[in-house]
Amino acid sequence: MGQLFHRSTNTIARATIIAAILGVGGLFWVMAQMQRSPYTNFRGVARNQPVPFSHQHHVQGLGVDCRYCHTSVETSSFAGIPPTKTCMNCHAQIWTNAPMLEPVRESFRSGRSLVWSRVNDLPDYVYFDHSIHINKGVGCRDCHGPVDQMPLMWQESTLQMEWCLNCHRQPEKFLRPREQVFNMRYEQPGPRQPVTLDGKAFTSQLDLGNYLKDKYHVRTVQDITSCYTCHR
């Protein structure tokens, strides 16, 4: 009886095993990349909105404070989306005939709300609270990115759990003084640009972060990484 298999089948078999390992590994890699890609989490994707509102123009150009529109950010879980009335406070006076603003005027006339597309959207099983983060010295920019440089709004971070935990596990790397929370141009302390707080000049973020953790009574890492912190 002759050989059933040609010698080359040995090579093919080995190659198949290696290919299978690589293939399965590759599949997992692809899935992991998919999960982190803007396709899934919309990171960096500018959204179409009924009115092409430019944060860059309003914040950087005109110097409007975040809280002028997002009024409840310091007191509530929800930062607040401004009612049409807030837009009309100014736009009843300026750019009153701009065609771009017609949906705003129409909303104000008819009493029907503008329907914006939500940019930073957490899953419904996550109970995030803006006010407590603001209060503990987490800057707007730390999560929302350089909003003052966004002509159209996009989501800066993945908003995935690993990203949340990245800060919850080491808050000292991110905290800033409360007064600086809304400052879009704030930069973390370094040897060249110290941050002065309570009469002390901090030259490293870790020093400042650890000082602020105490000052603002930030709970322990164990506390703020327990499940009920965000899920309930």
Binding site: N41, T75, S76, G80, K85, V115, Y228, R232
Partner: protein, 1059 residues
């Protein structure tokens, strides 16, 4: 009715079919399915004669457990044994439904979805919709609270309602109101579900066609003008008991305009006997209030004052429980024997209950005498004669009853001025008169008993009024009837044939929230507003006025009763707001009205509007009994008692699925009204559990399913009203048996000599009593006051609690907050308010009768009822059981995906989005407090329910385990509020939903690391013990043992002989 809609709810045509089926018949498919569950050919899952005898034998021989929950447990039936060994009752984890094409497609769909790796989906894009003009004070994401009040049978229940972005979502008691003091009850807690009930009337209807309010006004204008011509001789107004001063003034205004018109009130569970009793004693209608904080001895003559149906329940429950704490000083620390053994300033009260139906009130009694309804009068006379009222006296039915009565008399006489006698609402007028006379003879008036003006706006004899109305209708005197709120077609006494009489009226206008039986027989149907949608006013039991303010605009454009009545006045378009405000503007003089109004609406009540006590003397001097005495019941005939159902009341809450699925305090039956029969009578009449009997009374008959209830008096049966609705809605229609079918106008509360005939059929009564049993452990611990004084630590001696060091786990130091709960079983009155509060706060779904039968009910908090002693007169104990949040939780170790883990504050955390539904945790939980979503029990589609839910709590989906979280959302909010102020969470600022609802202050939650917190003080109480603590689970929820205060004249031995 969240689940039935989705799951086993009949389809639209089926439902219509079902509505046509007569009230006592149950959809046959449902029945068959239930029989399938029980798993035997005959469809019987019940206590047989053999088992019953076994139960008695067990009691005799002393083999029975000291505390037992059901007759099945006593008898040790095979079914009970089997259930014990199962994690869930048989059928819970199996797929028993017949496979339908729809079900098959659903399963296939689910499989495909699973195959698609559900974890890796993209987030759907969501819109965000701001206001155009944001209301002032509205902070999105922060709930607002508004004071208002709910009206039930002529009394207001002051409330504080949470509104999330304009949607009322949770009802609480008004903590500033002296009647509520923050406590609430099942009816007000569940009323938020009524608001969002999808079965509510959504339009106005004329002869089956949709109409509008202007077309109604136009349509009846002609008839109103015609009535004007005849002075309103043909106009009749039928309302519920009116408690609103404004509405009463409006109706009086209409009567002035139409002098020939008449106004009647009808509530099927009315207070005619209370009024007649007051009339008898004082010659005038009065309202009686009690101050139980000052009562050392309480005697109840069939009064169910610790049950939510009783007006002023929240006040009485709190006052009663405040006197059930045996410690000298519950706050005393550190614990020393001296602190707890000296006589307290306000000693624990002693409560004697003479009762014809076992209720949760009687369960709290130190001495409980079950007697037939008709014998309560005799016992009242015995008591009355002994305390110096000329009442004829008599002999008790047994020696033991006589001894208990003698002890009660001795106590009453020893506590002149600090005792109270309370007569039951349903008892005949003479019992009320006797109670008034006794309270006067004992000097209690002005101390524990107060008389005030009647709280209801127009006290009348409602039964007489209804009779007059019906006879007027029969002879054609009535051209136009306006029925608002009441549902007489369903609940009027059957001998009046209300529905027949109603057909004689040419123009019938119905106004209400639901298209009920009466609406179906009216030509005009005006959809009414829920109390959370309308402006109104009401008086609470102390007489103080609450302004009812709306929390939401009418969902379906309904009209309030005020607006309806305006149609008969000069200004038909006047709004409810203008009407109520206008009325008070005319009443309030001498103050700035605007600020008075603002303050009254804001506070939820008008300051200083409570009635001042009246100084009255009992005018009646002799209470000698009539010559003839009630004939004894012999043979097959028994006495039948009608009672409002503990959950659906008189039937008005029949479509409220929360209340339907709430276990009733004594039987733990859900979704039905069992016919309560005593064990002896059941044996005499050869009845077994769940037998269907036919009850005949005065030519009418109704069927009912037998429930053998320990502690029920013999030769008497209790049937609960409110079931067998034909047009309640998807939850209530066709459930249970309609007791109104045999209720006669002459015998509204009890009937002598009815016949019970066995039909040979059985009907599945579903009870949760057998589920989640922790049998054979020392769960309830009890001592008498004397025993407690001798050994204050009695509760801790029953089981050995292991040393905290005895553990394999590393010991965790809780340095920050450590949450814990203490439940005082002595204070708990078993009213179930906590269960509904939890359901409302935590978005707990309803599963439906069939699913409960399979053990798939979802309540996070249950109230277990334990019995001790013989079947004739057992002692009853209530034990609310939430998650224990064990420090060494057995559930956590067995979860393969770490979906249930321990938090740093000692909470046993359940993470839904991680749970894959293995149910190992539930299997390993010794307390059986975990609930699994076997099916998609939440209705994810009904838009109304979306508005109702608490946005701070996840709405759980199918395949997920859930359980009590200690209201983590409230802890987190409390924490953030405190941290923003750089403070620690102050004690008492975070209340769990159950704690907040509890009218008797039995549940206390707090930080056990804060040595000054209330919960720590309770946990340091010697009565404190942990459930199953010998397992070294170290539960954070602990219990305070029961301490009873029996009379020293009635030793324990005699008490058990009573069995």
């Amino acid at each position: 009715m969240e689940s039935q809609v989705n799951r086993e709810g009949p389809s639209q045509p089926e439902r219509r079919e079902q509505e046509r089926v007569s009230a006592e018949a149950v959809c046959p498919t449902k029945k068959e399915l239930l029989y399938q569950i029980s798993g035997t050919a005959s469809g019987k899952k019940q206590l047989t004669r053999y088992d019953f005898e076994a139960a008695l034998a067990a009691l005799d021989s002393g083999d029975a457990p000291e505390y037992w929950r059901s007759l099945e447990e006593l008898a040790g039936t095979k079914e009970f044994q089997e259930q014990l060994h199962r994690e869930f009752p048989k059928g819970a984890s199996e797929w028993l439904d017949p496979v339908s094409r729809r079900g098959f497609l659903k399963l296939m769909g689910a499989s495909v979805a699973l195959a698609g790796l559900t974890g890796c989906i993209r987030q759907p894009l969501e819109p965000i919709v701001p206001y155009v003009r944001q209301p002032e004070n509205q902070v999105l994401g922060k709930p607002m609270f508004y004071a208002t009040a709910m009206t039930l049978s002529g009394y207001g229940r002051p409330l504080l309602v949470r509104s999330n972005e304009g949607r009322p979502s949770k009802i609480e008691g008004n903590p500033e109101h002296p009647v509520s003091m923050g406590g609430s009850d099942i009816f007000s807690q569940a009323s938020v579900l009524d608001l969002y009930d999808p079965d509510r009337l959504q339009t106005m209807i004329y002869e089956g066609e949709i109409r509008t309010w202007p077309s109604f006004l136009g349509g009846v204008r002609g008839q109103i003008a015609a009535q004007q011509a005849v002075q309103g001789a043909g106009l009749r107004i039928l309302t519920e008991t009116v408690a609103s001063p404004t509405l009463a003034a409006q109706i009086r205004g209409v009567l002035q305009r139409f002098p020939g018109a008449k106004w009647y009130q009808w509530d099927p569970v009315n207070r005619d006997n209370v009024r007649a009793g007051a009339q008898m004693a004082f010659g005038q209608f009065v309202h009686t209030q009690y101050r139980l904080t000052d009562a050392d001895v309480i005697v109840s003559l069939d009064a169910n004052f610790l049950s939510p149906e009783f007006p002023g329940f929240t006040k009485y429950a709190r006052e009663f429980s405040s006197r059930r704490r045996p410690e000298t000083n519950p706050a005393a620390r550190p614990f020393t024997t001296a602190n707890y053994t000296a006589l307290p300033d306000r000693p624990i009260n002693r409560f004697y209950s003479i009762e014809s139906t076992p209720t949760n009130t009687g369960a709290k009694a130190d001495h409980h005498i079950p007697v037939r309804f008709s014998d309560v009068e005799k016992y009242a006379r015995i008591l009355a004669s002994a305390v110096g009222v000329n009442a004829g006296g008599g002999n008790a039915n047994s020696d033991l009853d006589g001894k208990v009565l003698a002890a009660a008399v001795k106590d009453l006489q020893a506590h002149r001025g600090t005792s109270v006698v309370i007569a039951g609402e349903q008892q005949p007028p003479i019992v009320h008169a006797l109670a008034h006379a006794m309270n006067e003879a004992l000097g209690n008036v002005g101390k524990t008993v107060f008389y005030t003006e009647p709280v209801e706006a127009n006290p009348t004899d409602q039964m007489a009024g209804l009779k007059e109305l019906v006879s007027d209708m029969w002879v054609g005197k009535v051209d136009m009837i306006v029925i608002t709120g009441a549902n007489p077609v369903y609940d009027a006494p059957v001998d009046l044939n209300f529905v027949g009489a109603l057909q004689k009226v040419p123009l019938r206008i119905y106004h209400g929230t639901h298209g009920n039986e009466t609406a179906a027989n009216c030509s005009w149907v005006v959809n009414g507003t829920h109390y959370l949608e309308e402006w109104s006013d009401v008086r609470s039991i102390d007489g103080s006025v609450s302004i009812v303010q709306p929390l939401i605009a009418p969902l379906y454009g309904g009209k309030s009763a005020h607006e309806l009545l305006n149609a008969f006045g000069a200004q038909p378009e006047l709004s409810g707001y203008e009407t109520v405000r206008g009325y008070w503007q005319s009443q309030i003089k001498g103050v700035d009205f605007e600020s008075w109004w603002q303050k009254s609406v804001h506070d939820g009540f008008v300051a200083n509007s409570a009635y001042a006590p009246l100084n009255l003397r009992v005018k009646m001097t002799s209470f000698a009994p009539p010559a003839q005495t009630a004939a004894g019941n012999t043979g097959g005939s028994v006495e039948l008692i009608f009672r409002p159902d503990p959950c659906v009341y008189d039937g008005r809450f029949a479509n409220n699925a929360w209340l339907q699925e709430l276990h009733k305090p004594m039987t733990k039956v859900v979704w039905d009204n069992p016919l309560m029969v005593s064990p002896n009578t059941a044996a005499r009449l050869d009845l077994e559990q769940q037998d269907v009997v036919e009850i005949r009374n005065a030519g009418q008959k109704v069927e009912a399913a037998v429930w053998i209830q320990p502690g029920h008096p013999d030769d008497s049966v209790t049937m609960f009203l409110g079931y067998g609705r034909q047009r309640a809605g998807r939850a209530g229609t066709g459930m249970g048996f309609n007791a109104y079918q045999i209720r006669q106008s002459t015998e509204l509360n009890s009937v002598h000599g009815v016949k019970l005939n066995k039909t040979g059929r059985t009907y599945p009564l579903i009870t949760t009593q057998g589920f989640q049993s922790m049998v054979g452990r020392h769960l309830v611990r009890e001592a008498t006051l004397e025993g407690f004084r001798k050994d204050p630590l009695f509760a801790t001696r029953v089981e050995k609690e292991p040393d905290p060091a005895e553990t394999l786990y590393p010991v965790y130091e809780y340095t920050g907050y450590a949450w814990g709960m203490a439940i005082d079983q002595n204070a708990c009155v078993g009213c179930n308010a906590c269960v509904i509060a939890c359901q409302s706060e935590n978005n707990v779904p309803v599963v439906g009768k069939m699913e409960v039968a399979r053990g798939r009910h979802m309540h996070w908090l249950r109230v277990d009822t334990y019995y001790k002693g013989g079947l004739a007169n057992p002692q009853v104990y209530f034990q609310p059981v939430p998650c224990m949040h064990c420090e060494t939780a057995p559930c956590e170790l067995v979860c393969p995906v770490a979906a249930t883990v321990h938090g740093t504050e000692g909470l046993n955390e359940m993470i839904y989005n991680r749970c894959v539904g293995t149910r190992y945790c539930s299997n390993n939980c010794p307390y059986k407090v975990r609930r699994f979503n076997f099916l998609l029990f939440q209705d994810w589609n009904m838009p109304q329910y979306k508005m109702m839910r608490n946005p701070d709590v996840t709405v759980r989906s199918r395949g997920v385990m859930e359980k009590c979280t200690y209201c983590i959302q409230r802890i987190q909010h409390g924490r953030m509020d405190a941290e923003k102020k750089d403070q620690l969470i102050p004690d008492g600022s975070v209340q769990t939903a159950c704690q907040q609802a509890c009218p008797s202050d039995a549940i206390v939650f707090g930080n056990i690391n804060d040595k000054n917190s209330r919960v720590v003080k309770l946990k340091e109480n010697p009565r404190n013990y942990g459930l199953l603590a010998d397992l070294n689970t170290r539960p954070r929820t602990t219990y305070l043992a029961v301490v009873t205060n029996p009379s020293p004249d009635l030793p324990e031995a005699e008490k058990s002989e009573h069995a």
